[in-house]
């Protein structure tokens, strides 16, 4: 409560000659911007929260599958990849085939793919946000970042 009393004067608009008209206008402008950005923060927050939740759920299911087959089918856990371990190359198609065969590692990989895709989806959602709000400078900025990310993914999956 003491804290509310201390902060209120600095956040509300002061009237009278003490505050120059220019500064009042500036503060109003700032408050408007804040409302604007609160909406943006909500959109970004939702994308990141649900992206992480979906990814965690899939990874946990994968680990449970791994534990299940280790405990009841005596398959054992995969080995820890120490020096010299060669990871198998995995194409998206191969991953789906492994998943259908009930491979826990494939399930975990799907969860990790969702985790990696989440920031990209976040950027895409800001593009849509600024398109709807007709904010040209930020539409240009976020679209550019999305294009660079897509280019990176294309170059990456070729290399």
């Amino acid at each position: 409560m003491a804290y509310a009393r201390r902060t209120r004067p600095s956040t509300t608009l002061e009237s009278g000659d003490r505050v120059a008209a220019k500064e009042t206008k500036e503060r109003l402008h700032l408050l408007e911007d804040r409302d604007h950005d609160l909406q943006l923060e909500k959109v970004v927050g939702h994308v990141l929260r649900y992206g992480s939740l979906v990814s965690v759920t899939i990874v946990v299911v994968g680990i449970a599958m791994m534990a299940w087959s280790a405990l009841f089918r005596s398959q054992g856990l995969p080995a820890v990849p120490t020096a010299g371990y060669a990871a198998p190359f995995r194409s998206p198609a191969g991953l789906l085939a492994d998943l259908r065969a009930g491979d826990p590692s494939a399930m975990i990989s799907i969860g990790l793919m969702v985790l990696i895709a989440t920031p990209v989806i976040r950027v895409a959602s800001t593009v849509v946000y600024f398109l709807l709000h007709r904010d040209k400078p930020y539409l240009a900025i976020t679209s550019f970042v999305l294009l660079v990310l897509i280019a990176g993914f294309l170059v990456g999956s070729e290399g």
């Binding site: 201390r6 902060t7 600095s10 700032l30 911007d33 804040r34 950005d37 609160l38 943006l40 923060e41 970004v44 927050g45 990141l48 929260r49 992206g51 992480s52 990814s55 965690v56 990874v59 946990v60 994968g62 680990i63 054992g76 856990l77 995969p78 080995a79 820890v80 990849p81 120490t82 020096a83 010299g84 371990y85 990871a87 190359f89 826990p104 590692s105 975990i108 990989s109 969860g111 990790l112 793919m113 985790l115 990696i116 989440t118 920031p119 990209v120 976040r122 950027v123 400078p137 930020y138 900025i141 550019f144 970042v145 660079v148 280019a151 990176g152 170059v155 990456g156 999956s157 290399g159």
Partner: protein, 282 residues
């Protein structure tokens, strides 16, 4: 031979710690995850780097969800600077084949040492935030405000030095593309020294950005099989738990404590990188 069950639980615990530190300081957690995996469990460096990329993205998503509740991160600053970090990261990854590592590690070490000293000098700046805005900041509405819960004050701040910060962010992107390190270690000093943002805003905004920079290079590692499920799964889960907890801590901790901890970490990484550049460690 490491026992896989023991490995899963130990990696999870280490990753929680990495998430807490990373979300507090705007770092990806690679500085904890990579040495822990390679030195404690003998994981091949290739798969440790793959796991650290997962760690960076998990820190970014987990921490930003919490930071947004308190509006600490400046999304506009972050989105603008991402144009520089992503192009730098993609460029760095392409340059990687032509540049040798050792001299880069030494340059990186020197830059970090300089940043540590410069950031330490600004240790009293957190009491009086910069209120000025440059042309870019006015045009792109970069200034911001947040409630600093450590002292109950609403902190208003302006943003200056946008062109310089863009250049530094591009270099930070190139370095992280080339070396696979330095996701946040260069971003936070650039925002602090060039843009003169409050310390908490710098670390929270860095956390917001690092996920995107890491995602730019993640496809390459994924396709090459560097992201091994047994290693990356406990890292992802642990870091997400740690980062959402650590991010809540950021609001309450005093700004200068965050700064001093960051400077300390910079010194440690600077020494690590110098040792690697001189060929003393792998």
């Amino acid at each position: 031979m490491t026992d896989p069950t023991h490995f899963l639980f130990a990696t999870f615990a280490v990753s929680v710690l990495a998430g807490v530190l990373g979300s507090l300081l705007g770092l990806g957690g690679g500085i904890i995850v990579i040495p822990a995996l390679t030195l404690l469990f003998g994981v091949d460096i290739r798969y440790a780097i793959g796991a650290s990329i997962v760690s960076v993205i998990a820190t970014s998503s987990g921490a930003t969800v919490s930071h947004l509740k308190e509006s600490i991160a400046n999304l506009r600053v972050g989105m603008l600077l991402e144009t520089a970090t992503t192009t730098g990261a993609v460029g760095g990854a392409m340059l990687g084949a032509f540049v040798t590592g050792s001299i880069l590690y030494l340059i990186f070490a020197a830059v970090l040492a300089y940043s540590a000293v410069a950031m330490f000098h600004r240790r009293n700046a957190d009491n009086t935030p910069n209120l000025a805005n440059d042309r870019w900041s006015r045009r792109l509405k970069l200034r911001g405000q947040f409630l600093d819960r450590a002292n109950g004050r609403v902190l208003r701040y302006g943003v200056v030095g946008v062109p310089a910060a863009m250049a530094l962010m591009w270099i930070a992107g190139v370095v992280s593309g080339l070396l696979g390190v330095g996701s946040g270690t260069l971003k936070v000093p650039a925002m602090d020294l060039a843009m003169r943002l409050p310390m908490k805003v710098s670390t929270a905004t860095s956390n917001f950005m690092i996920g995107v920079t890491a995602a730019a290079g993640a496809a390459v590692h994924f396709a090459h099989g560097d992201i091994v499920p047994l290693v990356a799964a406990p890292v992802a889960l642990g870091v997400l738990v740690g980062a959402s907890g650590g991010a809540r801590l950021l609001g309450r901790v005093q700004s200068h404590s965050v700064r001093l901890l960051f400077v300390l970490v910079l010194v440690v990484i600077s020494v690590q990188m110098a040792a690697r550049g001189l060929g003393l460690t792998a």
